[in-house]
């Protein structure tokens, strides 16, 4: 049973990690928490349904198209919720993202209907690992997610383009002044954020079906992952996501199947009280 749970928690954790990473990117780019990140997950999942079942694209092409579309969604989202409000108080942007989260759910309902939808997995069947069994889709999810997350991590931390994006995130005024096209940089960050979360949704779709509400609790747990990992830290988002996945699954099996969400959030509060800055802390301190 333990093995079974470990594998399941790894797969769930990596999906939380993908949503969390998307949140962190937006946080770093513009300093606000995106409450509609979970809805990116949902959109990615619906895109998977449309691309594979309605349009009949092969899985590889569907994945690529989904990534592309989600990037586009990110850019549009950037221009609607963030750009017009970039100069006002950050809480107004947060409210705007709450509004967006409601609107996105409704748009999805109008387009795809209210019923949950089933999506075919990329690889069918189950794999047996000793006494544990797992759907191949889980393994694919872990693989694709890990690759994508690594790629984005390298892009941000190790490449020059990544430094430009970071610079813009840290000080837009100065960035504009030295000649960084700020709109492009923030837009690109949103695109990457939506892309990674959306692909997470696409991978998740065959596992848990697609519903318009799937983003809600996943988004909140991913948010917990962001905080536990350390606000603003990309590594933190990944580690935090895995931790949340772990607590979620094991609390369900060994403590209480019904209090498991509450336990996840209890861990969040405990983690905050013990180590408010999270595992990887914030790099930038406030000077008085």
């Amino acid at each position: 049973m333990v093995w079974q749970l470990i594998i399941a928690s790894l797969a769930m954790g990596i999906v939380y990690g993908m949503v969390a990473m998307g949140m962190v990117l937006i946080w770093r780019a513009v300093g606000v928490v995106n409450f509609a990140q979970g809805e990116f997950l949902m959109l990615g999942a619906f895109a998977a349904y449309t691309l594979t079942l309605q349009l009949g694209l092969p899985q590889g092409a569907a994945l690529a198209t989904c990534a592309l579309l989600m990037g586009l969604v990110g850019v549009v989202y950037h221009f609607i919720t963030y750009w017009p409000l970039r100069k006002s108080w950050d809480i107004t942007v947060i409210i705007s993202t709450i509004g967006a989260s409601i609107a996105l759910k409704e748009v999805a309902t109008l387009v795809w209907g209210p019923a949950p939808l089933a999506v075919d997995p990329i690889v069918h069947g189950i794999a047996k690992l000793g006494e544990a069994a797992i759907e191949w889709q889980f393994i694919v999810t872990i693989g694709v997610a890990a690759l994508l997350m690594a790629a984005i991590f390298i892009l941000l931390e190790r490449t020059y383009l990544g430094h430009i994006l970071q610079a813009t995130a840290q000080d837009q005024y100065a960035a504009a002044m030295i000649g960084i096209p700020v709109v492009l940089a923030t837009g690109l960050t949103f695109a990457i954020s939506a892309l990674i979360t959306g692909v997470g949704g696409m991978l998740l779709a065959p596992l848990f079906f697609v519903t318009t509400t799937m983003g809600g609790i996943t988004g909140l747990k991913a948010f917990a992952a962001v905080i536990i990992g350390g606000f603003g830290s990309v590594q933190g988002a990944i580690i935090g996501g895995l931790l949340i996945g772990f607590v979620d699954t094991f609390a369900g099996a060994y403590i209480s199947t019904t209090y498991r969400d509450a336990i996840v959030f209890l861990c969040l509060i405990l983690a905050l009280v013990v180590r408010p800055q999270g595992i990887f802390g914030e790099k930038i301190a406030e000077k008085v």
Binding site: Y160, I164, A174, I284
Partner: protein
């Protein structure tokens, strides 16, 4: 090199500059002084296209009134902002590299030579190249901000209150560097609260009040102008200096 004619600038509906004209020659250091809220920062922002503006801004004979901040930075008009604005979460070296974005875009061109140039000008920065910018002292951050502008291969450098909050010794060192940069052939437009200092290093001075140029001339003459003494040097100066 830079010729501004009848420039207006707005924050929303507020007009902060009411028709400013000014000229920076090919090798000059030009000082711009004036009291708080006179519009000095606004003027620099207007030149960099960071506020709404209208009026003629001729740079090397081209009117750049309608251009974007990126275009202007690309053209070599670089601005070291008031309050430094370094990128706190990047290291010193990363800050400098990002500074070259105006001419190299996002390509991975070699910037080693440019880095060398900055490090030879500010050896302190070389010692700290791996340190995050937020952890630098005020003076070091100011050097970094200037260094970052130099990475953009400036043809004209605009400095906004570089001495603010710096220790006297650092100010001295900094101004030596500014003169050094100027001697490499980069004209400088310098905004300073420390009027005496500004007039000492510059060839030409403009005095800005209430969004208008109220006085201009050679630094040597203006420094002795009684009105200027009264308004910008104050009694304190006389007592101590």
């Amino acid at each position: 090199m830079l010729k501004i004619n009848n420039l207006y600038a707005h924050y929303g509906n507020i007009e902060a500059l009411h028709g400013v004209s000014l000229e920076v020659g090919n090798k000059d250091i030009v000082a711009l002084i004036g009291s708080n809220g006179a519009g000095k920062t606004t003027l620099l922002r207007a030149i960099s296209s960071l506020v709404t503006r209208n009026g003629e801004i001729c740079y090397n004979g081209e009117n750049i009134e309608k251009q974007s901040p990126r275009y202007i930075a690309k053209a070599g008009l670089l601005h070291v902002p008031e309050g430094r604005h370094v990128f706190p979460g990047l290291t010193v070296q990363q800050n400098l590299e990002v500074g070259s974005v105006s001419w190299r875009g996002i390509k991975n061109a070699s910037v080693a030579e440019d880095l060398e140039r900055v490090f030879s000008l500010f050896p302190r920065l070389e010692e700290r190249r791996k340190q995050y910018a937020w952890s630098l002292s005020g003076g070091e951050q100011q050097m970094l901000a200037i260094g970052r502008a130099i990475m953009g291969r400036p043809k004209l450098l605009m400095l906004d209150e570089p001495s603010m909050g710096l220790a006297p010794k650092v100010i001295d060192e900094l101004f030596v560097k500014i003169l050094e940069i100027n001697s490499m052939g980069v004209p400088i437009l310098l905004v300073e609260q420390n009027a005496l200092l500004a007039m000492e290093v510059s060839q030409k001075v403009y005095i800005l009040e209430g969004g208008r140029i109220v006085l201009q001339g050679d630094s040597k003459d203006i420094i002795n102008d009684a009105r200027v003494k009264e308004a910008y040097l104050g009694k304190l100066k006389e007592k101590v200096v």
